[in-house]
């Protein structure tokens, strides 16, 4: 395998970087957050025009057939700029569910997502925080001509803003059965859907959503036997989230080593104190580890060889290494690092959020150990 970026990927990454450097500096982002807007429609439109929103989708559904490595190439700068736009939720999660469906309704919806006209929200998490979709228990009961949804979904990114909810639900069995999972397209304005909106610590809009006897016609079921679709979609989203985290880690490493070289205490830049310089070295080691793991796993995925253990290694490592880098960055910045006014803490909160989504490092490390101990038995 070759792990170097192709020229196309370099160009793609450069163009995203240029866009964000121009229009998404930290102060601009903070103003947007304070304005209460969930994200910037201008940036979203710019990404649509650059083809980034269609990047992960096959050409036959209106996408650009990008590989995982292409998505990673754009997700790293997304992380480095702390994007709050719903790329992972609307494109990689909800969008990919739509893209993997052969339902005409899903296809039609996806084309609006790719153009940026509308967004969709992946309405899946039930508070377990695991990567395994078998934990879904929200009930989809068959009723005349369709299904009735009842139950609760939590931490739905972009849930209050989405034009469509892509909801995972269980038509039979109980968690953690792999069988009996389906995906539904639900209009959030439908009767019985209650949405409690909030902002996450990393500035994204999210929602807890309750379904109370929500009627869904059969043609809005866009997938049945959906466990493996969900697993694929989530695995790819995990890689993209990890790429965001690695982008954030790179930013923290750069900002912190620069800060340490200018901030003076006791008459000398603090980088000259060995404890600080060794902490910077540890940050760099952690970053090199994180990025190696990301790029390797990405290539593995593009080669069709990434198994559950590989994804768990990636997610576990990024969560743990990211926390180390973030905490080291704050400590090195001292009081300034504790303020909302500089980007350091925001990067750390982005990393913490990514760690908690789809299973934290503890979960994934243990999953790795469990599979090793079991395979060897």
């Amino acid at each position: 395998m070759d792990f170097s970026q192709t020229d196309e990927q370099k160009m793609l990454q450069e163009s995203v970087k240029r866009l964000l450097e121009r229009s998404y500096d930290f102060e601009t982002r903070q103003k947007m957050l304070q304005s209460g807007r969930p994200w910037s429609p201008e940036i979203w439109q710019a990404l649509a025009e650059m083809g980034i929103l269609g990047l992960p989708f096959a050409e036959e559904v209106g996408g650009f057939g990008g590989a995982m490595a292409d998505v990673v190439a754009v997700a790293e700068p997304f992380g480095a700029h702390l994007l709050i736009e719903p790329y992972v939720s609307s494109i990689l999660l909800a969008g990919s569910c739509l893209g993997q469906s052969d339902s005409p309704a899903a296809q039609a919806q996806l084309s609006k997502i790719i153009t940026g006209e509308q967004t969709a929200a992946f309405t899946h998490e039930e508070g377990k925080g695991t990567a395994d979709p078998a934990f879904v228990s929200l009930a989809a009961t068959e009723a005349a001509g369709g299904f009735t949804l009842s139950g609760e979904k939590r931490m739905v990114l972009g849930g209050a803003q989405a034009d469509t909810l892509v909801v995972s639900a269980r038509t039979r069995g109980t968690a953690p059965d792999k069988d009996g999972l389906s995906l539904f397209m639900v209009d959030p304005k439908q009767q019985g859907v209650s949405i409690r909106s909030f902002i996450t610590i990393d500035g994204r809009h999210a929602a807890h959503i309750t379904f109370d006897g929500v009627q869904i016609p059969s043609e809005r079921r866009i997938a049945d036997d959906a466990h493996s679709v969900l697993q694929t979609v989530i695995s790819r989203a995990i890689v993209a989230l990890c790429a965001e985290a690695v982008g954030a880690m790179g930013a923290l490493l750069g900002l912190t080593s620069e800060y340490a070289s200018t901030r003076k205490q006791f008459g000398t830049p603090i980088a000259t104190f060995q404890t600080i310089s060794h902490r910077l070295a540890d940050m760099k080691i952690a970053y090199v580890k994180a990025r190696s793991c990301l790029l390797y796993t990405t290539a593995l995925m593009d080669a069709g060889q990434a198994g559950a253990q590989d994804i768990s290694i990636l997610k576990g490592q990024i969560g743990a290494l990211g926390r180390d880098i973030g905490e080291a960055a704050i400590q090195t910045h001292g009081g300034v690092g504790m303020t909302d006014e500089v980007s350091i803490g925001h990067f750390h909160k982005r990393i913490l959020t990514i760690n908690a989504l789809f299973g934290d490092s503890e979960y994934h490390f243990r999953a790795v150990g469990k599979s090793l101990a079991t395979v060897d038995a």
Binding site: I199, E327, Q331, G335, D340, L352, A356
Partner: protein, 401 residues
């Protein structure tokens, strides 16, 4: 050590328990449960202090003549234990643990008479003006200047990380009155009667947790009376060092941590493990909890030894060791908290956290405080002398060949 019998101590415990069960208002209790920092919510903390002061219990470790309780070490511990059990808000330390004890030791009679009663009652809140934007770990390099002018000083410069300055009505601060000699020389310790002197400007700074707990304070030709000086001019460094002893040797820190671990354990009884069963029954949770609890227990053991006057109390590195242990344990406890809350810790819930807001939290009570507590506690290894500086000091206490 003590002359009290077990029966007397048991009776004392009952008295304390009965009082703490009835005296605090609902808002004070709510503030206690929602405390996510070493600093409790300001208003309810002050209200609680006023109530305690009426009972005469605002400052158990002060000398009795100045309003202390005259309790034995055992009684103080009993009080602390019962206090923690009820998740009551900690009293703000600046006045009670810092300025008060300092004035008792070094203040003039006039200063004592003027300030101590209002410190006890909580009517006065003293913010600390030490750090400056370019003088953090290297505090002695501070530049904020005070130039004598008649009976006054004229102050110019700025102070930062002044906790609750925007809620304070008094300030104690270090200023530079001379640039001669070593940088530790030429520093003077001042008490400011007001925080709204003409030319003073206070800017709250929002922290990672979304709360404005600390501020920057700007001084533009601020005229203050020299009578606010503690100790001699240019000898403020030794005054500050004296104060530090009170700050660091204050009271036991372990009970708070034990209580947080208890709240974590309770919350784990309602959480399911992604590997099946309840989180509290999960062996990994148990191991990590046990390792952390053991280290917190050791902090408690250490604090008991110090309180009892064991020989190690004479080690000059002791305050630095205590600060390092405590701050790093707070952080580890806070990480454990966020682990238990997981995803539910990701939502910003500033509204639900506000005392009296009536907004329901979105997850459990622990979920509400986990992330703010974690984020806020990143500061514990930075403030009051970074842990890097503490380790420098500890290393200096070691034998050399």
């Amino acid at each position: 050590m003590t002359t009290q019998t077990k029966e007397e101590l048991d009776a004392f415990r009952e008295e304390v328990a009965a009082y703490l069960d009835t005296a605090p208002t609902d808002a004070i209790r709510e503030a206690g449960r929602k405390t996510t920092s070493a600093f409790a919510p300001f208003e309810q903390g002050a209200a609680w202090q006023a109530i305690l002061n009426e009972k005469g219990w605002a400052a158990p470790d002060w000398p009795e003549e100045y309003g202390g309780t005259g309790w034995s070490a055992e009684q103080r511990t009993i009080f602390e234990e019962e206090y923690r059990k009820r998740d009551l808000p900690p009293l703000l330390p600046n006045s009670l643990k810092m300025v008060g004890p300092l004035l008792i030791d070094l203040g003039t009679e006039e200063q004592k008479a003027k300030y101590l009663p209002r410190i006890l009652s909580g009517e006065d809140y003293w913010t600390q003006g030490y750090s400056e934007p370019n003088s953090g770990s290297d505090l002695a390099s501070l530049k904020c200047s005070a130039v004598a002018d008649g009976d006054d000083y004229i102050i110019n410069g700025s102070k930062i990380w002044t906790t609750f300055a925007h809620k304070s009505n008094r300030m104690f601060m270090l200023v530079r009155t001379s640039s001669e000699g070593k940088k530790q020389q030429g520093i003077t310790f001042l008490l400011l009667d007001r925080t709204d002197f003409p030319g003073m400007d206070i800017r709250p700074i929002k922290g990672l947790d979304g709360h404005a707990e600390f501020c920057e304070v700007f001084f533009d030709n601020v005229r203050v009376p020299q009578s606010g000086r503690v100790g001699a001019e240019n000898e403020g460094w030794s005054v500050a060092k004296h104060l530090l002893k009170h700050e660091r040797n204050g009271s036991a820190n372990s009970p708070v941590l034990v209580r947080y671990l208890k709240r974590i354990t309770e919350a784990a009884q309602d959480e399911t493990s992604p590997f099946g069963g309840k989180l509290c029954d999960d062996p990994v949770f148990q191991r990590d909890l046990g390792a952390l609890y053991a280290d917190v227990a050791t902090l408690a053991q250490f604090e008991w030894l110090i309180m009892s006057g064991q020989e190690m109390v004479n080690d000059p590195a002791l305050p630095s060791i205590a600060k390092t242990m405590n701050s790093e344990l707070i952080q580890r406890v806070s990480v454990m908290m966020t682990r238990v809350s997981g995803l539910e810790g990701l939502s910003m819930q500033l509204d639900a956290l506000a005392v009296g807001s009536g907004v329901d939290p979105m997850g459990s009570e622990l979920d509400l405080i986990s992330m703010p507590f974690y984020l806020n506690s990143r500061a514990t290894t930075i403030y009051a002398g970074t842990n890097e500086v503490q380790r420098d000091l500890i290393a200096r206490s070691l034998p050399i060949a």
